[in-house]
């Protein structure tokens, strides 16, 4: 299985030699780094039509807070015909915070991209209906970013949801994100 995925991945890198970086293999899964994020839509189109990746399993986003570029967007592709899995990883900078959409290629991307916009604040150019999906329209923050505290933030919308910080914030049972190692972020280190 990993062999056929590798073969398909090599075909893909051959088709886009500039845009795609190195193959990486971990636990029988192939990951390709996409160096030119603006090419992602045409790479995905090629992967679907030429290489048979007809099923977009998932799109995830990662916040590498403190790194540049800050965000990563991860596409999990799968082909029902050849039963191989392939992962594409793109980098998105905080200033741009935008990517071309792949909704025209797989319709399932619609909700995944809306979720990433909602949680991480990355915009998808050309998305037909880029609204928040899990949080409510008008919510001012992007909660999955690493600089968003676990305890929540007060909002200036007095009538909507809670406007005060969560009571546990800073409490003994809350881990401290970004505190360096696990020992420092671990709740019991505070007591």
């Amino acid at each position: 299985m990993a062999n056929s995925a590798k073969r398909l991945a090599q075909k893909l890198t051959k088709a886009f030699p500039q845009a795609l970086g190195e193959l990486e293999e971990f636990r029988d899964e192939i990951t390709i780094a996409v160096d030119t994020a603006s090419e992602i839509a045409s790479i995905c189109q090629y992967a679907k039509t030429e290489l048979g990746f007809d099923y977009l399993v998932d799109i995830s986003s990662v916040d590498n807070y403190g790194d540049d570029p800050r965000f990563e967007v991860v596409y999990e592709l799968y082909g029902y015909e050849h039963q191989s899995h392939l992962r594409l990883v793109t980098q998105v900078s905080e200033e741009a915070a935008s990517l071309p959409t792949v909704t025209g290629i797989w319709r399932t991307a619609d909700w995944h991209e809306r979720e990433i916009y909602d949680m991480m604040g990355i915009r998808f150019e050309g998305h037909p209906d880029l609204r928040r999906i899990l949080m409510w329209e008008g919510y001012p923050h992007y909660p999955l970013r690493k600089d968003f505290p676990l305890a929540g933030k007060p909002t200036e919308l007095p009538e909507i949801a809670f406007t005060k910080e969560a009571p546990l914030e800073g409490g003994p049972f809350v881990t401290t994100p970004g505190a360096g190692d696990r020992v420092k972020s671990e709740p019991r280190s505070k007591s």
Binding site: R27, V57, D58, V62, T108, R132, L134, K146, E186
Partner: protein, 462 residues
Amino acid sequence: MSPRRVLGIESRANPGPSPNIVESQRFITRSRLKDADYNMAEVKDIEIKDSAASAAEALAGIDAQEEELTDLQGEKLTLNMGPSHPSTHGVLRIVLELDGEVITKADPDVGYLHRGDEKIAENMTYTQFIPYTDRLDYLAPLANNVAYALAVEKLMGIDKDLPPRCQYIRVICCELARVSAHLLGLGAFAMDVGAMTVFLHTFTEREKIYNLIEALTGARFTTSYTRIGGLSRDLPTHWIKDCERFLAGVEINFYETERLLTRNKIFVDRTKDVGVLPLDVAIDYGVTGPNLRASGSNHDIRKVHPYLVYEDLDFDVPVGTVGDSYDRYLVRIEEMRQSVRIIRQCLKNLPDGPISIADGKTVLPPKDKVLTSMEELIHQFVLVTQGVDAPKGQIYFGAENPKGELGFYIKSKGGGAPHRLKIRAPSFVNLSALPYLLKGSMMSDTVAILGSIDFVMGESDR
């Protein structure tokens, strides 16, 4: 006094409601002169038009207004459904745009149950997150536990080293969860389209599954049964016997459920050719699980990329042909039968041995060893305070859950907590096909389509 007594109006030979309501009813009137003249009553026919007939007659004469009426036909009505509508089985809101009875646009609104599970996961160790997985698809918590544990084990590279007994018990857990989830899904689906009895039937069996789960895990609902590298406890005594007894009973229940539904005229009429999802559209929308297989794909992760011991087990994958609500029902019924078959094989071939990996750096050592041996004490301390030591890297693991492919994407920067944990929730993705499914269908079919999709909002909203 009734008009009948006063006027002597009596309907003779009334054949019941006429099939054509425009047709006037005929009455035979008996005009009454004196009390004594009953027998000499004069019989004459009069015509009494009903309201529909007179309305049709009134409209026939008005040509000028006809144009206005056709204009009105295109007018759209926006109807809000949910977030707490009985047929949405949770907090799903759908904004429907109607043209008469036909849905022209449907916009599902999810997120009412968003708890930020992915954010929570980043802030705790892998083991601490297990209880949160109970609350994803809360109709099949055991299957979520297993899927999550397998994802973390894949990241750590120990998923192939699990002891056989652990793998068999995990398969039993997954399949029990599948039976439980499908029983509820079918019961609720049948109730939505008007068959109340089925719901009571299936709930009786679910209660027995809960009793089994309680004996196994100590909790009926929030099981948290798996651990990274094993299970929290072994099977209790007599559990295998109890489980076998349950399996014998539940098969009769499947039979009865099928007797109530499969050839039930009302049920078939309400589900057949309703909400048809062609295979290419299903794949385009990323639909998985029984919903995908009802559309004609035989893709089952348990078969295609077998995890645990599914490779050694003998079971069939039911596949639909049309992809309508009725097919989705049939696939689920058959999947439960296959689950029972799998559990039987597992119970029969259940090997002896440990239920967890014998590695002190992954699995908590037994309590008596912790209190008597230095090395185990250190392992226990490190595991509890820092968690398992996962390597750097990123993995995706998808498991065949009752609702579809439950996937976990984990990006690790090393250490005991994930840098990012993304949950690919099957209900979320399956619901994204709703605008396609609902468009063009009748308003009353909404409940049949929603019921046949079988989603759980706890998982969709995470």
